[in-house]
């Protein structure tokens, strides 16, 4: 078990976005978080990553209580998230986008980069090598000097995946990574996800395409009005008539 949510709640004014939500994510598995629009999926991501603070409940990551850990420090502990609205840094090159995600001790400190220029060079060249490998892996090598804003939508989504990999995080939180992809890119994407779990990554994925998530996930959590209504094997959850009705708004 790498991640555990214990009775998490979050309120926005009069709206209970997440209410007493608990579930776990096992190491090396793909867990899918599904539910209708506005169910609170993205909010749960924000709570897990620390972008938002829960009103009550606690979050454990790798056995450690991280409920009060700052957002950027949670990344250092080994989790990273993508955004529903992609958010590539469009004014920066593909290479810069990914290098930015690499952990850095020297290059990003103005003081250290002045007094330890050699360390900075070593770190940067190490990172660049790593970034090249990652770009090769996701298939963006030939685009590395392009501005991210000039990439196609599908390429931007791959870039975001590359960015997450560069953080060295073990737990990847993917918010609708496959939405808007053409069938070709979708195949490639599924293969990547499979390959990642074989490479020791754990994935928590939000996805509206139920057949797609049934195919790739080991477990499914169904969310409705901020509550985890069901948790279990993908085909069980996906076939549950009651949940189907909620999901398709019957």
């Amino acid at each position: 078990m790498i991640l555990q949510l214990n009775g998490i709640s979050k309120r926005f004014g009069g709206l209970q976005a997440v209410s007493n939500c608990s579930f776990t994510v096992e190491k090396g598995k793909v867990v899918a978080l599904i539910g209708p629009n506005g169910a609170g999926k993205t909010t749960i991501f924000n709570l897990i990553t620390g972008a938002l603070k829960p009103d009550s409940g606690s979050i454990y990551f790798k056995g450690k209580d991280i409920t009060n850990v700052q957002e950027h420090k949670r990344v250092h502990l080994g989790m990273a998230r993508s955004f529903q609205d992609v958010r590539a840094l469009t004014e920066m090159t593909v290479l810069e986008n990914v290098i930015l995600a690499c952990p850095s001790r020297y290059a990003e400190s103005p003081l250290l980069s002045l007094v330890r220029p050699n360390q900075v060079r070593k770190e940067e060249s190490h990172n660049i090598k790593k970034v090249f490998e990652i770009l090769e892996y996701v298939g963006l090598s030939d685009k590395k000097d392009k501005l991210a804003g000039d990439l196609s939508y599908a390429e931007q989504k791959l870039l975001i995946l590359a960015r997450l990999l560069a953080t060295d995080a073990e737990l990847l939180l993917l918010d609708e990574p496959a939405s808007g992809l053409d069938p070709g890119s979708l195949r490639k994407f599924v293969e990547l996800i499979r390959d990642l779990t074989n490479n020791n990554k754990t994935i928590l994925i939000v996805e509206h395409n139920v057949s797609l998530v049934s195919e790739i996930s080991d477990k499914m959590v169904f969310l409705h009005h901020g509550e985890a209504l069901a948790e279990g094997k993908p085909d069980e959850v996906a076939k549950n008539e009651e949940l189907r009705d909620i999901y398709f708004g019957a």
Binding site: L52, H72, H76, R81, L100, Y106, E108, P110, S113, V120
Partner: protein, 308 residues
């Protein structure tokens, strides 16, 4: 010739100031309208260290840099939680607050009368009395500052700053503390502005709050916006062009009482023209896109109270 030397010294001072704002507005997107206040803190600190404590030029310069850095760090706090227009207002507020402090801390700043008889720098018993000698010192310091800033902007730190400008939330999600980087860059910018302050104080040998007003802040911001946000050529060549152009008015048969405001009018018209036709300034590239306040940022701002 004398006129030219004076112009060159002033141009260097403004190049430093424009550069200090370039790293702040141009790189990080922190739209500060309080740079004249920080400039003033540097000038006052240097002047007081030299006149009251009779420190030499270099120790006072370093002292001024440290003091301005500390004050910038304090100034950074209230404005960090807000963005967009609120930040602009907050920085205007800081500018005016510090200006009132220059006016009112009589014991320290001598109020509206200001600090007088600031000595010209002296090195090993040799005093730089002529303007040309002072110009050489000024150019030297300006070169050091530019080398430092341009260098910083090309490091990984500069990359983080540009990322913050585009999307702070993303930077945060990649394990970098956007807050810390913003404080750091504000301090850096303040330290650099303090160098300009020290050069200015020792050049005019008399400073008063009148030189560090909100209008001066607006002027410095306009310099770098016209030069081109994010462009070092804009901060340097752009500044020289912009300061030089209105000087042409000097050769027209207009008395100085009219020439001074007319220069400003000319400058304001330039701003307006550029904002309509070329918002990225003289040397900037595609800034219209870059300085867009994104919807996503606004959402983030609204959710601010909720943030961990």
């Amino acid at each position: 010739m004398e006129l030219l030397i004076g112009f060159a010294i002033l141009a260097c001072i403004y190049i430093i100031l424009a550069s200090s704002l370039n790293i702040l507005i141009g790189y990080t997107g922190i739209f500060s309208m309080a740079q004249a206040a920080v400039f003033g803190v540097g000038a006052y600190a240097a002047a007081l260290l030299e006149t009251k404590l009779t420190w030499g030029f270099i120790p006072s310069l370093i002292g001024a840099i440290v003091i301005a850095g500390v004050i910038s760090a304090i100034m950074a706090f209230p404005s960090l939680g807000v963005s967009g227009d609120y930040f602009i207002v907050a920085s205007f507020g800081l500018q005016m607050l510090i200006h009132t402090l220059f006016m009112n801390l009589d014991g320290l700043t001598n109020g509206p009368a200001g600090v007088q008889r600031i000595p010209r720098p002296e090195f090993f018993g040799y005093q730089l009395n002529s303007d040309i000698e002072y110009l050489i010192l000024t150019i030297l310091l300006t070169a050091i500052v530019l080398w430092f800033l341009v260098g910083i902007s090309k490091t990984g730190f500069g990359r983080v700053l540009r990322a913050i400008k585009e999307d702070e939330t993303v930077v945060q999600s990649l394990g970098k503390s956007a807050k810390r980087s913003k404080i750091t860059v504000t301090v850096l910018s303040g330290c650099v502005a303090a160098v300009a302050g020290s050069i200015y104080a020792n050049y005019v040998t008399y400073i008063s709050p009148a030189s560090f007003t909100i209008h001066e802040s607006i002027f410095i911001a306009q310099l770098i916006i016209l030069g081109g946000l994010g462009s070092w050529r804009g901060a340097t060549i752009g500044t020289i062009i912009l300061l030089g152009l209105p000087e042409v008015l000097k050769f027209l048969p207009i008395s100085e009482t009219y020439a001074a405001p007319l220069r400003q009018v000319f400058f304001g018209l330039l701003i307006i023209g550029f904002m309509i036709l070329r918002p990225q300034g003289i040397f900037g590239t595609n800034m219209a896109k870059k300085i867009k306040i994104k919807d996503s940022n606004i959402t983030a701002e609204l959710g601010e109270g909720e943030k961990a």
